[in-house]
């Protein structure tokens, strides 16, 4: 497959960029525009939860380039019910019906509650949302999310804030192999090399926020992540092409079975 034909399709929408980035934790919201331009992402997460100083005339949407898909999250929700209410609030903004379900069942490690996430997904899909659930990489839970109608699954790489990279790599690999909808790695990515490594194993996209926002030069870091995601994806495609184009040669150990007997 040529990389120019490689698009990510979520809920029928085609996006070119496999880097999804957030808009939070920036000291100065004005920099967000430059970062998003550098990152060239098509999907951007936003939140309802936190506001810094009350400035009625400012709206984060002013800093987000036009034509992007907004992905609000349900940050702050602790149960399915809370996530559903937050999602409805988010939709009432009139900026689309995509929602990232984030139901944190544990405030110590900020780990997602898969059970509540599945419940929220079922309910919100029925209400017409495009649901992207943030989850703990568990194949059984992922299958339930697929059955519930999720448009992607978003397994974590490591606990939020730990910057540990792909601690759940093996389990993400299993999801990539078994799940037919896009697998998007979210949380725990600290470095571009983590992002590249995830893309190399066939993950569909990466979602990250903190690693860019808290770096000393967010614009430069956004570029680094953009290139890392592209590099990883290109490597994966090159590898895939290798496997599909060449037939598996006969193993030399059993080659003798195919030799013509004199």
């Amino acid at each position: 497959m040529k990389s120019s034909e490689d698009v990510l399709k979520i809920a029928g929408i085609e996006v070119r960029s496999r880097l999804i980035t957030g808009s939070g934790k920036y000291r100065d919201d004005g920099i967000i525009g430059a970062v998003l331009e550098a990152a060239e992402c098509d999907i951007i997460t936003v939140a309802l939860r936190r506001i810094d100083f009350d400035n009625p005339s400012d709206n984060i949407l002013d800093n987000i380039p036009k034509g992007k898909v907004l992905l609000p999250n349900t940050s702050g929700a602790r149960t399915a019910d809370e996530a559903i209410r937050l999602a409805r609030c988010a939709r009432a903004m009139g900026c689309g019906n995509w929602i990232k379900i984030e139901v944190i069942g544990d405030q110590k490690y900020l780990l997602p509650d898969n059970t509540e996430t599945i419940k929220a997904t079922e309910a919100l899909v029925k209400e017409g949302f495009v649901v992207l659930p943030y989850m703990y990489p568990d194949l059984i839970a992922a299958r339930r999310l697929v059955d519930a109608g999720a448009s992607a699954v978003m397994p974590l790489a490591a606990p939020i804030g730990s910057n540990r990279g792909l601690t759940t790599l093996e389990f993400i690999r299993i999801l990539v192999e078994e799940i037919t909808i896009p697998v998007i790695v979210d949380a725990g990515i600290g470095r571009p090399s983590h992002a590249a490594a995830a893309m190399e194993i066939g993950v569909s996209a990466i979602l990250l926020n903190t690693a860019i926002a808290s770096s000393d030069d967010p614009v430069a870091m956004a570029c680094a992540f953009k290139w890392a995601v592209r590099a990883g994806r290109a490597a994966y495609l090159a590898g895939m092409a290798g496997v599909s184009q060449t037939a598996r040669p006969s193993s030399p150990l059993t080659g003798f079975l195919h030799e013509k007997k004199e």
């Binding site: 709206n59 984060i60 009139g94």
Partner: protein, 66 residues
């Protein structure tokens, strides 16, 4: 009449609609959600729903988040 908007007490004209309130606050209706007394007001109703004295209004905007 007095209403509370995003925590702040605001004197407004009787019979002010949600749309009218957004106008006064110079907020673009297309980018916010409005809750009155904890119920979401549908966007289509912004110009029809009238505010009542002591209503608690929350104008919700997206903010930066991951």
């Amino acid at each position: 009449m007095d209403i509370i908007v995003n925590g702040k007490k605001l004197p407004v004209e009787d019979g002010l609609t949600v749309g009218g309130l957004l106008d006064i606050q110079k907020i673009v209706p297309a980018r916010v959600a409005v809750e009155i007394n904890r119920s979401i007001v549908s966007r289509a109703d912004f110009d029809f729903v009238k505010l009542a004295p002591d209503d608690t209004v929350e104008i919700i905007r997206f903010v930066g988040g991951g």
